[in-house]
């Protein structure tokens, strides 16, 4: 090896070997196969020794460069010896590279590490001395070799960046590599910055784990929900089916009630008609006893006629659809009261009607409601002195509740729940006539409007019938 050329250093050097230049072998290793083919073992051993010596020398040189002891070096190659100078102004820059957190390397076109900083050595878990002169390929993990070759090809062309996995002994380290290729004074260099992304990868892996777990949870919950939904749908279908069945049964029952009532009326008409003809045309031929029996036949058939008429009314109401419109309930009540007064002009009953009460109702059906409720009030105050009936409305929880209040005979609240059932009567036929269907009709109509009907009262203290027309939940239903 020749002595290096000498250059004056501009920077101050602590090193004793200051100003000395080192020489470095250029392309020192030929492919092994070529060596094996063309050289004898003795030659090889000699070569080996020579190479070792040169390597040692190269390492020494590099260390000297790193420490700033050397500012120029000579590399011998096929084109003769070449001088590599390290200008003094570049010294701080070298220190900067040395103190970086990222690994920094300069490599030959073949991937031989010509220089590396401490950070890279730390990533590798080795000394920089042991790394210099080795091939970067030796540091690439086996699984990444193909990837590396593509990567390196791009790196040598100009520049590239990407992730790779390096391997040191049994330890693998994921890194991000960014490269730049330059020709400096005719020499080809590849500069590489290496960032250890182990932590980032670990975080990513962790994140991925959480994400997978989360996805799994979401999948599980979705499946649970889907199953629950399916069950719900099945239940819904069943419910709809039951509803349809129930509706059908109800309709059947209604038509049954209707046709029975209808068919009952025909023979009853004959009975009632002839009983009357006998009584009117042939009554004088009967004695008092006979006439009283005939009167009983007549009153019985009349009652049955009324009952059948009411039943038909109930079933008619059940089948009728509600046609709502904005309607003056106060005048409807007035009209019903006028009819009651006309039918019983002898009575002197005070009726108070709140003015201007309007609501969305089916007027025909509501006339039936008021005829029944007011008819009851009228009937049950018939034995009351200073009879008084009142129609009004009050606010209950933001919803309108209408009422018809009377000071008649009242009722035993124990039986209040039965009041709205068909045929249920709280008074005997002798006390007050009636079929017990009126309030059942009222309840059907109110329900058809989406409301509720209930009553308050006590024996001898009058009765109040309340009703709402929408889905009201009466708070003080029971007295």
């Amino acid at each position: 090896m020749k002595k290096p050329a000498f250059r004056t250093r501009k920077t101050k050097s602590k090193a004793t070997k200051a100003g000395r230049a080192k020489s470095l072998p250029r392309k020192p290793i030929k492919p092994k196969s070529e060596i094996r083919d063309s050289k004898s073992q003795k030659e090889l051993l000699l070569e080996n020794t020579k190479l070792r010596r040169r390597l040692a020398e190269a390492e020494e040189t590099l260390n000297a460069i790193r420490k700033g002891d050397v500012d120029a070096l000579i590399v011998s190659g096929p084109q003769g010896e070449q001088v590599y100078t390290l200008k003094g102004a570049e010294q701080p820059y070298r220190i900067l590279v040395e103190s970086m957190n990222e690994g920094a390397l300069s490599l030959t076109e073949n991937g031989i590490i010509m220089n590396c900083n401490t950070a890279f050595a730390q990533i590798c878990g080795a000394s920089s001395g042991s790394l210099i002169g080795s091939s970067i390929r030796d540091l690439v993990s086996e699984t990444n070799i193909d990837k590396f070759e593509t990567f390196w090809k791009q790196a040598c062309e100009r520049e590239t960046r990407g992730e790779l996995e390096l391997k040191f002994d049994s330890r693998t380290v994921p890194v991000f590599i960014s490269t730049r290729a330059r020709i400096i004074e005719g020499e080809y260099w590849v500069f590489v910055v290496v960032t250890d992304i182990s932590e980032q990868k670990q975080n990513e892996a962790e994140l991925e784990k959480y994400r997978t777990h989360l996805e799994q949870l979401v999948d599980e919950k979705t499946e649970e929900l889907r199953a629950a939904n399916e069950e719900l749908l099945v239940a819904n279908d069943e419910l709809a089916m039951r509803n349809t069945e129930l509706e059908m049964l109800n309709n059947e029952l209604d038509s049954f009630v209707y046709s029975v009532s209808h068919d009952l009326r025909a023979p009853l008409r004959i009975m009632e008609g002839f009983a009357k003809i006998v009584s009117e045309d042939h009554g004088e031929k009967l004695d008092a006893e006979g006439r009283s029996y005939l009167a009983r036949i007549r009153s019985g058939s009349e009652r049955l006629t009324k009952l059948i008429g009411d039943l038909l009314g109930l079933s008619r109401v059940a089948r009728q659809s509600v046609k709502k419109m904005d309607y003056d309930l106060s005048s409807l009540v007035s009209s019903v009261v006028s009819n009651l007064r006309e039918a019983d002009p002898a009575r002197n009953t005070e009726v108070i009607i709140a003015k201007g009460l309007r609501d969305s109702v089916d007027p025909d059906l509501m006339r039936i409601v008021f005829s029944n409720i007011l008819g009851n009030a009228w009937k049950f105050t018939s034995k009351t002195e200073k009879a008084k009936i009142e129609f009004g409305a009050r606010d209950q929880g933001g919803k309108t509740v209408y009422f018809v209040k009377d000071n008649g005979v009242g009722f035993d609240p124990t039986y209040m729940n039965k009041m709205f059932l068909p045929f249920q009567r709280l008074h005997s036929e002798e006390e007050f006539e009636g079929t017990g269907i009126g309030l059942a009709i009222v309840e059907r109509i109110i329900k058809k409007h989406g409301g509720k009907v209930w009553a308050e009262g006590a024996v001898g203290k009058g009765a109040t019938i309340y009703f709402s027309l929408y889905n009201t939940k009466p708070g003080s239903k029971r007295p």
């Binding site: 023979p267 009853l268 008409r269 009632e272 008609g273 002839f274 009357k276 003809i277 006629t305």
Partner: protein, 135 residues
Amino acid sequence: MRKTILIIDDSDDDVFLTKTVISRIRPDIATEIAMSGDDVLLFLRDCKTLPSLILLDLKMPRMNGIDLLQEMRAISRLRRIPMVVLTNSELESDRKACFEAGADDFLQKATNLDHFTKDIECVLERWLDASKKQL
């Protein structure tokens, strides 16, 4: 000449009640009875004097009131006889079908005797006495 009303109803009781009610208010009027559509057509073919008014029920076995109305209206010599339906039905559809088949009036059989009597009175007044001029 005594006027005749033809009562067509499959129920003996109903026929008898209608007949009785008519005789109570108008004893001068004679009644003829037919219990089925076939009977009616036979009677109308053979009778020497046509009835002044026909009262017929709707619900009858085999040939019902509507079929019968159509049959009778097809016979030209019956064209001018008033035909009044007396029925238990309260269906609007029945009412409409009756008028379409050629009925002159449609009455629901009142349960109450007084009401029924009043209805018959009105029918006689309107269709029997008014038809006198036409016939």
